[in-house]
Amino acid sequence: MSEFVQFLMSGLTVGAVYALVALGFTLVYTASDVVNFAQGEFVMLGGMVTVFMAALGVPLPVAALIAVAAAVCVGLLLYWLAIAPSRGASPVTLIIITIGASILLRGAAQVLFDKQFHKLPSFSGDVPVNLLGAAVQPQSFWVIGGTALIVLLLYLFMERTVLGKALRATAANRLAARLVGINTTTVMTLAFGGSAAIGAIGGILVTPITLTSYDVGTLLALKGFAAAMLGGMGNPLGAVMGGILLGLLESFGAGYLSSTYKDGIAFVVILVVLVAMPQGLFGRRSVERV
């Protein structure tokens, strides 16, 4: 039992981060049909900027706020300078642009910060909490709780505010949204800024556990993308479920089967799911109504 809880908590913590990255992918994808491969770089920025601000003597909460603001700025610049000017280009072109942006951001981080690994102090100490016989880092609760809060806020925003409804309308049909007077440019700006903020918060929450460096974004983008595909691209609930499922698969795969093949196990499951349900677990059926 304690073993099971240990694997479960480990999977949930890692999965929560994948979920945040997947959520970022989904937000941008619904608003603009772009798969933003620079999403992992926002996670890196969140962690790295906080580390370097904290090293300058800025209190941690303020450093975290600055990091989120910095990531949002980068997200907006990415949209204004790279995505908006090439509007109308094919999705493949836009995806390549985002890959280029991610390489640029990684290189800039390497020069601006450094190439070392860094850590942040845990928010509430390092004494493990005993949960049904499993030792859990207090920071895990921050990661899982933070993710849950972000998901909840995002849900309320999408369902209850005019801006959120505009975002959903744009996702459903961009032309129709524009015809009823929704400023789709604002919506897309919002999506890029929002996804950057979500990524950065994820990066800050997880850095005390996983450490950070200029190149952590690559793998996270890959895993987050896989999670988004698993859950169904374009569905926020799917993204979260996909992320958590991926984290659990890795953790239980390593724990009960083989740690050598844990990534393999996770990706085989994803392949099987996608073959059986090409839209992902929660994806919309893409039926064109005439």
Binding site: Q6, F117, H118, D126, V136, T210, L211, S251, G255
Partner: protein, 387 residues
């Protein structure tokens, strides 16, 4: 037109030869280097690059080697073996170096090895794995300790403490998996039994699942982790999180840097590892033959580079001085003669240990080159051998 331009060429060539001739008389000896100054292995290449530049300047200021100034040509391969090979060819064909120090990783070294072996130019690698010098290639040497030696040193210590049943946890990167194989091969020699084996990816962020499995395996008396980078730091933290402190944790020499202690934090307390004397320079007894050299190197590096010393830069230091000594003894810049002298290196005291090369051993270090260290209160301490 043709004869005129041909004549012009001749005149120019003649002028160049005439001008170049006297310049040649003030001789320089060209040493090449291909290092991973940027990219994922930059934590190796960066201190190596700084060390080489620092000490070449020093040697030149003191009049050079055997009357020749050293000219250092360094290329950055970014950790990419393909690039390393291109630069190796450039060093041979364009720069015409007499010897080469570098190849920060085993991967880049193995890619460059045939180039230097073919051109018959001595090549002192800074890569870790034993494949570089086993089987021996005539022109290839290396200075860092091998993973095999690290395993043997750890097992020697375990045997002394009568800890014979161990769990092995290994990173799946090149370093971790190579060392895993070497440890598995060396274990029976020391009567060590590997009860269970786990692995983790070099980029994994949580190893509690693997460690929980080890924790629940009966009879594990010690855990050995092979790997470097941030993976071992996370293993160490998870190890403390799961309250496994009663079972000693042994790490490889791959984590022998201050940043490991910083990253792992208080969880690092009690971690044991084999490492070069350089890490505990100040704590060595005064009669230690390496004491003077490691204290000097540490002080020079930290004063110039403004960052804590690492053993990786030390390997570059050893390589440079083995080469410089060989050039002096050969009293020649002929690569073949230099190679012969490098192979004859005996009793060279470096940061990595005391080097005695031979035609069958192009590393020249034995297990005494490693010290067993334990981390206590955020610092290294020398472990007293158990009597």
């Amino acid at each position: 037109m043709k004869p005129i331009s041909a004549a012009l060429c001749l005149v120019v060539a003649g002028a160049v030869a005439a001008l170049g001739g006297p310049a040649r008389a003030q001789q320089t000896v060209k040493i090449g280097s291909v290092l991973s100054v940027s990219g994922p292995a930059s934590f190796l290449g960066d201190p190596e690059d700084k060390t080489l530049r620092m000490y070449v300047d020093k040697i030149n200021a003191a009049g050079g080697v055997a009357g020749n100034k050293i000219e250092l040509v360094i290329y950055d391969d970014g950790g990419d073996a393909n690039k390393a090979r291109t630069f190796a060819t450039r060093l041979i064909e364009d720069d015409k170096v007499v010897a080469m120090i570098g190849g920060s990783t085993t991967g880049t070294t193995m890619a460059m090895l045939p180039v230097f072996e073919g051109a018959e130019v001595p090549f002192i690698s800074l890569g870790g794995a034993i494949e570089i010098i086993d089987p021996v290639s005539k022109y290839v040497f290396k200075t860092p300790h091998t993973d095999k030696m690290a395993c043997e040193k750890i097992f020697e210590d375990l045997k002394q403490r009568a800890l014979t049943k161990i769990a092995l946890i290994a990173g799946t990167d090149g370093f971790g998996s190579s060392m895993r194989v070497q440890c598995t091969l060396a274990a029976p020699k020391y009567g060590i039994q590997i009860v269970t084996e786990e692995t983790y990816g070099p980029r994994d962020s949580d190893m509690t699942a693997q460690l929980t499995k080890i924790k629940n395996t009966a009879g594990v008396q010690a855990v050995v982790n092979t790997g470097f980078g941030q993976g071992p730091a996370i293993v160490t933290r998870n190890y403390a999180q799961l309250g496994m402190g009663a079972v000693p944790l042994y790490q490889s020499h791959g984590v022998a840097s201050k940043s490991f202690i910083e990253l792992a934090g208080p969880a690092a307390d009690g971690v044991r590892l084999p490492a070069a004397a350089l890490l505990v320079a100040d704590k060595l007894p005064d009669n230690d033959p390496q004491k003077k050299i490691v204290v000097d190197y540490k002080a020079t590096y930290e004063a110039t580079a403004k960052q804590p010393v690492s053993t990786f830069g030390g390997h570059a230091y050893d390589g440079l001085y083995i080469l410089v000594d060989a050039i002096k003894r050969a009293n020649s810049t002929d690569p073949k003669k230099i190679r012969d002298e490098i192979e004859k290196t005996k009793g060279f005291v470096g940061t990595g240990g005391i080097v005695n090369m031979s035609p069958t051993d192009h590393l020249g270090l034995d297990l005494s080159a490693f010290r067993m260290l334990e981390i206590k209160g955020g610092d290294w301490i020398l472990m007293a051998p158990k009597s």
